[in-house]
């Protein structure tokens, strides 16, 4: 009889300790929900930023005369990011950081504004209009 009681007490202790251990180990004390941030595996190239760096490549136009004006890079809501005084005939590389959800940049040169699509981490723009000639 004593043996039976001892065995029951021992089992009960094991069960209680196990439950207690589970509770302490798996439930966050603040929000009572399990979390797993320690266990996630993240791509090596991930920057841990909600912004993304975009390289804007501007191709110049061989102009008849020197043409200089203000070049502005902005986001689609009109927010200005970058400004310089640019010779239209020169190529230019600009790096800006924009919110990761942006898909288009606004490029204003002088009085004219262009939409420049973002492809990956690049946005390419040319002052030379793209023309499809079929006659030659």
């Amino acid at each position: 009889m004593e043996k039976k009681i001892l065995i029951i007490m021992a089992l009960a202790t094991v069960v209680l300790v196990s439950c207690s251990k589970d509770k302490i180990g798996s439930i966050d004390p603040v929000n009572n929900e399990p979390t797993k941030i320690n266990d996630i595996i993240v791509p090596t190239a991930f920057t841990w930023s909600t912004g993304k760096m975009i390289t804007i490549n501007v191709t110049g136009l061989p102009t008849i005369f020197p043409v200089t004006s203000t070049l502005v890079i902005g986001s689609t809501d009109g927010t200005e990011l970058y400004k310089d005084f640019h010779d239209m005939s020169q190529d230019l590389t600009i790096k800006v950081t924009v919110p990761a959800i942006e898909t288009v940049l606004k490029l204003t040169y002088g009085s004219v504004t262009y939409d420049v699509p973002i492809t990956g981490s690049k946005a390419d723009f040319s002052f030379i209009p793209v023309i499809q000639d079929t006659n030659n």
Binding site: D28, V30, N31, E33, T35, K36, I37, N38, I40, I41, V42, P43, T44, A45, F46, T47, W48, S49, T50, G51, K52, L61, P62, T63, I64, F65, V67, T68, S69, T70, T79, E80, L81, Y82, K83, D84, F85, M88, L92, T93, I94, K95, V96, T97, V98, A100, I101, Y109, G110, S111, V112, F127, I128, P129, V130, I131, D133, T134, N135, N136
Partner: protein, 500 residues
């Protein structure tokens, strides 16, 4: 052979540009040798149903000529070449023309001048006026081109107002197309490609820095012209750090929380005049006395004249150079504050500052930091810094943990400064590897700092960020592809009880 051919094309193109120079020859010319009609169009020439051709039988001179569509319309609006706006000179307009076939009932060329009309937006072209009309007789020339020489009408010759001249190509029947080349228009080029190809105007430039007042953000200051921003003119970024590096922390990302916005002022030569930074200290859910600063990667310290506006304790663990930057740093390193707890006072209760909702809120402290690169337009001994050398990626933010100067904690994959204790790299949970360029990340690429563009409410003390933001882990595991707006207040994003 191919090389010499290309060289010849280049020489012809350069000659074309030089001879286009109204300052030198007072002529506006079109010889097509750019080989790309887009270049001429960018320079304000107009083309209607006309392309460039380099087919042997099409070439009149050089390697390219213009080629019209089939001339089956008598309308002068169908097929044309139009000059940019110009101040028309005197003498004769000349050009050469022939056809690619002999068929067709009629073929003709007309010349018009187009006055400027202020009320006819967006191109401001007035009604074209015909001043030359030529009708070919058959057989149309397909070999040697006919050379045209047409006197500029007296009413527009040497005028002080601008005109365009349009060459219209007309016809009926048949499929032959008109080829033209070597168009020369006496006069001065007067279009502005930067202003929608409208006529050039005299600009006002009060400070004579070359930047028109309407584009100059400092029209009365010749030493300043433009502002650029990081992250933008209308928003701040937020940096949120864990401070137990190289050991992993509790990932509540509130041990140091600062907002930032940097305005980079440049002059008309695109050199940086100054950086005006706003650094807003918001929270420190830590017992460590942490500092915060940033290195301008690649910018030598001797290119900075002065640094002001930071908050430094006395005594401080930081040594400063005479220009206000941290001493003994090859690259410009600005310490914004060296101890969060001397910048903002602990509220008396709770474990940190502004991370415990039951403790009193401590008003944010905003530092206005100024880093000067030019004084009255003059750089220091190190020389100037171009705006292109200072992209947003040059701002390399870090905290200094608990007054231990060597214990820098940067955003992931940012390089440590020269005063960092690199012996700590790769210890504890840190998996930095200088040879592979991996910095401040764990084995599974978890960071000690994050950079949120566009406003961020940080977690309360001891609440891991993924318990505050339900899609944080998916965002990270997907490399930023999934839930890119995990930090916003959209439904299902947040557990508000876990956010301060």
């Amino acid at each position: 052979m191919k090389k010499s051919y290309l060289l010849y094309i280049q020489i012809l193109f350069i000659i074309g540009l030089v001879f286009s120079s109204a300052d030198l020859r007072a002529q506006v010319t079109l010889n097509c040798e750019s080989g790309n009609r887009g270049i001429e169009q960018g320079n304000c020439w107009g083309f209607g149903a006309v392309s460039y051709s380099r087919r042997d039988t099409h070439i009149i001179s050089g390697f390219w000529s213009t080629l019209s569509n089939q001339l089956t319309s008598a309308s002068p609006e169908s097929c044309w070449i139009k000059t940019p706006w110009m101040l028309v000179g005197s003498g004769n307009i000349t050009f050469k023309a022939k056809f690619d076939g002999t068929n067709g009932n009629s073929r003709g060329i007309q010349l018009y001048y187009i006055p400027y009309n202020t009320s006819n937006a967006p191109y401001f072209e007035g009604t074209p006026v015909l001043f030359y009309d030529y009708l070919w007789t058959q057989p149309y020339p397909t070999g040697t081109a006919k050379v045209f020489s047409v006197l500029i009408p007296a009413e527009i010759a040497n005028s002080k107002v601008v005109y365009k001249i349009r060459m219209s190509m007309i016809g009926s029947g048949g499929i032959s197309r008109l080829i033209s080349d070597d168009l020369v228009f006496p006069g001065t080029y007067w279009s502005d490609p930067a202003n929608g190809c409208l006529p050039k105007i005299t600009i006002k430039d009060a400070d004579s820095d070359g930047v028109p007042d309407g584009q100059d953000e400092y029209p009365a200051d010749k030493n300043r012209a433009f502002n650029s921003y990081y992250p933008s003119a209308n928003s701040f970024g937020t940096l949120a750090f864990e401070d137990l590096w190289p050991s992993r922390g509790d990932y509540d990302f509130n041990d140091v929380v600062v907002d930032y916005q940097f305005k980079t002022v440049t002059n008309s030569s695109n050199n940086v005049v100054e950086i005006l930074g706003k650094v807003v200290a918001r929270a420190s859910g830590a017992s460590f006395k942490n500092g915060f600063g940033f290195q301008l990667d690649g910018i030598p310290s001797n290119k900075v004249i002065s640094t002001t506006g930071n908050h430094i304790s006395s005594p401080s663990i930081i040594n400063f150079a005479s220009n206000g930057l941290e001493a003994s740093q090859p690259y410009a390193t600005c310490i914004a504050f060296d101890n969060f707890f001397t910048l903002m006072n602990h509220p008396g209760t709770g474990s940190g500052i502004n991370t415990d909702k039951t403790a009193p809120f401590v008003k944010y402290d905003t530092l206005s930091i100024k880093i000067a690169f030019l004084k009255d337009g003059i750089p220091p001994s190190g020389g100037t810094v171009a705006i292109s050398q200072l992209p947003s990626t040059a701002f390399n933010f870090f905290i200094i943990a608990n007054q231990n100067r060597g214990k820098e904690i940067h955003l992931p994959n940012s390089i440590p400064t020269s005063l960092s204790n690199t012996a700590l790299m790769g210890t504890g949970n840190d998996d930095s590897n200088i040879s592979t360029g991996k910095y401040f990340k764990t084995k599974n690429n978890l960071p000690w700092g994050i950079n949120i563009i566009g406003g961020f409410s940080y977690p309360i003390e001891k609440a891991p960020i993924d318990a505050a933001y339900l899609h944080f882990n998916e965002w990270a595991e997907s490399g930023g592809t999934l839930y890119p707006q995990w930090y916003t207040n959209e439904a299902g994003n947040r557990v508000s009880t876990n956010i301060y």
